[in-house]
């Protein structure tokens, strides 16, 4: 590689990493507990368990479950009915002050899926994991914060790629994995930076870039609303909210009939961002780790209960949905989570050693400059 090309890559690596390092450190530190958010919540917070039932018990009628839950929230409106992924005996009702309110601050009501009994409605906003999640996803700064962190993630990916390019000249005379433990701290930390960086390339790029994609989730939802959802809704586009609601239980049964082999994940109520003002959208999913993430919406007329349309989601939504597990590391059991955590810590070490290398290499320059400035000053004063 020419000296000029090398200089450009070195400049790219230096600045892409310097700009993103502080934010990446924050993301790695807050991301670490988030890998185990489920376990941490279980440890820190009591929750009412659903009644134990023999396997194969028929769940309660969904409309009964919803009615019982909404009886505890008379001034609120149900926006989503969600089957708890972790506990098949629990159904969650996501409620808001109005049917069309933005769903970001929704309250969750936990219901027993078999007995239709109210379990609890925990306030999660004060929880440790909630604060970590907010810091990690948007630093409590909404969409701008999210997009900003996405940009930092993109810079991180550039830093990884430029780091690979710089790895070659720095390793020309060293075997793979060389750690010169008897040399100065600068050399030792450079070796450590190189070893840790080069073995985690793919993981860092995948987790980094899927994180960037996740920051676009709100935009992807908007594009889907204006694209596929509008097409599916067709002539119902300007329909008002239904005066009376058809049974949800029947809507889910109709949805199952139109998506064989799939199970419902959640029902979006008319007026929310996931459907029209006239439809229930029953989001169906498959049962393998991959297909469980790929939703298929089935639109059901919310006043008549009639089937309207169902389609596979477009590629840009699929990309977002597939990128989520690859970012969270929650798709391969506890061992995968532990590996994710170790690789996260390794990334912290790479960031820290990289920052140290920049400071340590600058020091001789700074000293020389200070000396030079001192001489000039003394020349002037004498």
């Amino acid at each position: 590689m020419s000296i000029r090309a090398m200089r450009i890559w070195a400049w790219t690596h230096k600045w892409s990493s310097l700009v993103c390092t502080v934010f990446l450190l924050m993301l790695c530190v807050t991301g670490l507990p988030l890998i185990f958010h489920h376990e941490i919540d279980e440890l820190l917070h009591e929750s009412v368990e659903p009644r134990a039932v023999p396997p194969g018990t028929r769940p309660a009628n969904l409309d009964q479950v919803i009615a019982a839950g909404m009886a505890t929230a008379p001034k609120e409106f149900v926006q989503f009915v969600i089957w708890d992924e972790d506990d098949p005996n629990v159904v969650l009702l996501s409620v808001a002050p109005s049917p069309t309110a933005p769903s970001v601050d929704n309250r969750m009501i936990r219901m027993d899926a078999n007995t239709a009994a109210f379990l609890d409605a925990p306030d999660v906003t004060g929880r440790f994991t909630y604060i970590m999640l907010k810091l990690h996803s948007d630093m409590f700064a909404g969409l701008p914060g999210k997009l900003f962190l996405g940009l930092m993630g993109f810079l991180f990916c550039i830093a990884v790629v430029s780091g690979i390019v710089l790895y070659a000249p720095s390793m020309r005379k060293l075997s793979f994995g060389t750690f010169r433990r008897d040399r100065s701290r600068l050399i030792r930390w450079l070796d450590l930076h190189n070893i840790l960086g080069v073995v985690t390339i793919v993981w860092a790029l995948v987790v980094g870039f899927t994180g960037v994609i996740n920051t676009w989730a709100d935009l992807v939802l908007k594009i889907w609303q204006y694209g596929q959802l509008t097409e599916m809704v067709g002539p119902f586009r300007d329909a008002p909210l239904p005066a009376t609601f058809a049974p949800v239980e029947a809507a889910v049964a109709t949805a199952r009939a139109h998506a064989p082999g799939m199970n419902p994940s959640f029902v979006a109520y008319p007026g929310t961002a996931f459907t029209s003002r006239a439809h229930y959208a029953v989001f169906m999913r498959g049962d393998t780790p991959l297909t469980a993430r790929l939703f298929k919406p089935v639109l059901i007329d919310a006043s008549t209960g009639a089937f309207t349309d169902t389609r596979d989601m477009p590629w840009y939504v699929t990309t977002l949905l597939v990128s989520q597990p690859l970012h969270f590391g929650d798709y391969g059991g506890m061992p995968l989570k532990i590996i994710w955590a170790i690789l996260d810590v390794i990334t912290i070490v790479i960031l820290a050693t990289g920052l140290y290398l920049w400071i340590a290499r600058r020091r001789p320059f700074l000293r020389a400059r200070a000396r030079l400035a001192g001489t000039t000053a003394s020349t002037v004063t004498s």
Partner: protein
Amino acid sequence: MTRQQPQNLFQIFMIPALIAVLSAFGLVSALVGDDLWDLASWLTLALPIAVVLWCMRPRQRT
């Protein structure tokens, strides 16, 4: 270890490329299935960690 002969790109990137391919496989395998696929994912993604430990292993000074 320092070498007398400088390495070419192939030599420099052979092991990192192998680790990269295995990690990519591991990231995908737990997505497509359970059990054996999960196990394959754990092993291939733990490989980078094992390599780091091997590189940093305590060695007697010569």
